[in-house]
Symmetry: C3
Subunit: 217 residues, 3 copies
């Protein structure tokens, strides 16, 4: 009994830590886009916050879990704004802000794919819907970031991107369905998603693209 309570508390902690970390890295990625566009500090705060909370907000809205999460935990907003302001004063230090942006985005992608799928499961979604929700949670923040920041959406990059979110969410849901302990499933899903996205970034992996008529003949 006490052991069960302890496990539940630990699980809750793991999810919160993963979710909080996803928030941090996505907020940073949003602020980095703001730095590439030479925005002012309010633009940093805006793009950082929208990127950090965007995916989870859409997830909550689609699942009907309203008011959405950051209305109940305003600390979320404060963290996003604080991180964005920090980036405003330090983003000139790294050699390549684009490289940094891509890797932060990759970590956030893998984290939110897993925690998004988990929140959907808890809300009663089946496996297919939960995987989809993981992909949505992982990619939506980055989509708004890129649309508002006037960058070409990373989701359309020819490197493997959505596929990595899909893999992460699917591995997590597969593990849960197979009866693997929940915390192991969370970590496995994250590692699978991040490994694939990281490899795609490092090696420039991509899937074969559609070839129109002329090229086939």
């Amino acid at each position: 009994m006490a052991r069960q309570l302890f496990r539940d508390a630990m699980l809750q902690t793991i999810t919160s830590v993963l979710d909080g970390f996803g928030l941090l890295v996505f907020a940073t990625s949003g602020a980095l886009v703001a730095s590439r566009k030479q925005m002012d500090i309010v633009g940093f705060a805006l793009l950082g916050t929208v990127t950090g909370i965007g995916g989870g907000t859409l997830r909550d809205v689609l699942l009907g879990l309203t008011p959405v999460f950051w209305i109940q935990t305003p600390a979320t907003l404060v963290i996003c704004v604080a991180v964005s302001c920090l980036v405003f004063f330090t983003a000139h230090i790294p050699q390549s802000r684009l490289r940094l942006l891509l890797w932060f985005d990759a970590i956030g992608l893998a984290l939110f794919a897993v925690t998004g799928a988990e929140r959907a499961l808890l809300a009663g979604a089946g496996p297919v819907a939960a995987v989809t929700m993981g992909v949505i949670t992982a990619t939506f923040g980055g989509i708004i970031r890129d649309v508002l920041g006037g960058e070409s959406p990373m989701i359309l990059a020819h490197e493997i991107y959505v596929t990595a979110a899909l893999l992460g969410a699917a591995v997590f849901i597969g593990c849960v369905t197979a009866g693997v302990p929940h915390e192991v499933a969370l970590i496995s899903g994250f590692l699978a998603g991040f490994a694939l996205r990281g490899a795609a970034l490092h090696f420039g992996w991509s899937l074969p693209r559609y070839r129109p008529r002329a090229e086939r003949e």
Copy 2:
């Protein structure tokens, strides 16, 4: 009594068939945009699914019918993905993918205008709100498709587009208000919307555009 049950079941069937068909044609239109952008198969699945479920998802969110429909019927997602993959392997066959895209979009537009308005009615909306919801359901999937696919949104085309959705939804609501049997109203609305959009496509119809000051004088 038995007759009433039979009628309800038939009506339900008609709506489901129209809705399912709308899903198919919109998913196809999304995959066709992916083919025009030479995406990979995941891009096809993504754009097809988003286009297929986009309008209905926004409709459910605005009406407060959450979790949204595809969380309860994940088959929806499977169908969208399957259709998109099919397009990936066959889209080189038709002579003009753009022509095909426009006509599939037109069918989806007319179908969702009617089923969107109906779902709003069932959720308790009045006639004006129901017509609006029909237009939103009909056009939103295509908007996301075009924004994500980097095409100029069809909603802004100078051919008659939103007007056709408006007509379809208004004819349906008009028929229902006038006491016409529900299934006749559904079909009439669809035919009206599709006829107008089809004629606009075929004859290049458009409404008069706004003329600024210089041209007036």
Copy 3:
């Protein structure tokens, strides 16, 4: 007791008037963008309506106040469409439609920042979330307007924009927290937001922008 009822009724009236006025000016701004793009009358109605109701719709969805407001009060939609049609026939009269657009947008921004924050308060949000909701309500309609109309989003303008919404919402919430009478808080928040945005427009004020590495050394 009677006095309390009178005050409540008056407060309700003030909020409704502010909200209705925000709807009008934002719908006008949407129709003005349509005029700049030489759309047809349906395009005017669409862009006007989306701009008018966009911010409040997102606010209601995030707070879980569904069906969203205009489903219950379809008059809202009728007003937006009517205003947009009026603009279609009169927009050639003013000398500069862009100037007019900027000022109408400024009024709407300040109005919705305050009424959005208030609706969030009533729905039980804390001060940080309420200010955020004010900013979202104030800016989202304009974002959709600019994205659909193919204009560069005003939210990314280097003039002070989001900052003005933030100030308006924060002044309102600050006043409420400090125990200032509600109607005074509403008006103060509006005036603060509008004054800042107006000054930024008039004097071309902007915040310092991020300077990348090269420029620092």
